[in-house]
Subunit: 241 residues, 2 copies
Amino acid sequence: MKTAAIVIVGDEILSGKVEDENARFLVAELRELGVMLARITVVPDEVEVIAETVRDLSARFDYVFTSGGVGPTHDDLTIEGVARGLGRRVVRDPALEVLLRAHFGKDVSEAGLRMADVPEGSERAGGEDLRWPVCVAANVYVLPGVPEIFRRKFAAVRERFRESPFVLRSVYLRADESSIAAGLAEVAAEFPSVRIGSYPRTDEHGPIVRITIESKDSAAVQRATDRLVERAPAGTVASTE
Amino acid sequence: MKTAAIVIVGDEILSGKVEDENARFLVAELRELGVMLARITVVPDEVEVIAETVRDLSARFDYVFTSGGVGPTHDDLTIEGVARGLGRRVVRDPALEVLLRAHFGKDVSEAGLRMADVPEGSERAGGEDLRWPVCVAANVYVLPGVPEIFRRKFAAVRERFRESPFVLRSVYLRADESSIAAGLAEVAAEFPSVRIGSYPRTDEHGPIVRITIESKDSAAVQRATDRLVERAPAGTVASTE
């Protein structure tokens, strides 16, 4: 099972000027693709912070997706941060430079051409669907912050991440979480390959706990679900799904 | 200026079962309070990951707020993670134990009493407004994942974080970002205490860039705003706010 991390680069998110949409979008996409998302980190527009975050997450997980901080202005520091994080230089990609010159014409500024800069050895991914390809440096996918473009670019590469799907069951118990905790812990210990979560809330009928049972092994999910229902205190199982 | 980090503990967020509301809420609160939010990290329900994240962020920033992973079940690992991150033992707080026994009566389970466990040396904060106080271990505020309770508990401690407010101005330029990048970079370099952001989008009239100018020094914000307007290419200033 592949693992992933998301790095959102953006003072605007940390300061509340803009609400994140890209992590939210990517959480759902990665789940649907069968990829285990292990971390989301929001960092400021600071090269060293981006670099150390990318260095750490790129070493731990199979894929890293960055959002934001790409563009021509002084606060666009993701390319430099990713390059430093991977121990690479920033170089100008000749193919991207050709695209940029064709787009901007002869008035192209040095700032505009910065958008052709990439970590050395990057791949251009996403094929013919995109005006600008996705920059992939090692296992780091550099995506823009503007949500519509983020989605379009991710869509162009998404199928390369697809693997076997997660299987999720839920059991709803009419109980206080404390009274079912010991039984839950035993079932969780018996099925180490299955992720068992417990989410209490209170509705108009009193406390209710959603138990989630999840894995890529559907037989194990079924066995764990059966065991949970069997172990639940009498009369507490409200529903399963 | 004080700095803060948010740690969201939750498989349910990473797997897309639940959308985060607490980071979103706290971003706005901290901004209003004048606290600089420097990091948001979403981690899975794993003790070692919680511990290393808390260790790192607690050392770097003035305040760390955790959300989720508190409760009686096997997947509630935040107290243990925070304790390990701070190099402390987990101990049972006698005052909390009294509250729990009063609440649950004599049927209280060992799992229920786990909710009285805290990192050694923790403070109970939030005063008389709360049924359960906020656990504060060193500079780490441990808050629950359920949004209504998260908000109620944060409200009980929020005024201890208040300091001088941020001042934010915005200048909207009708321009392509590339064409203003050089001027922006110069103004940003001239006012290092002011945070200048550039957020391009395209509306029905074409490209428009929002430049944000922000600091706690309102005079510096005003001077940087004036300089930006002065430096903007002729005819590009659409509005300021």
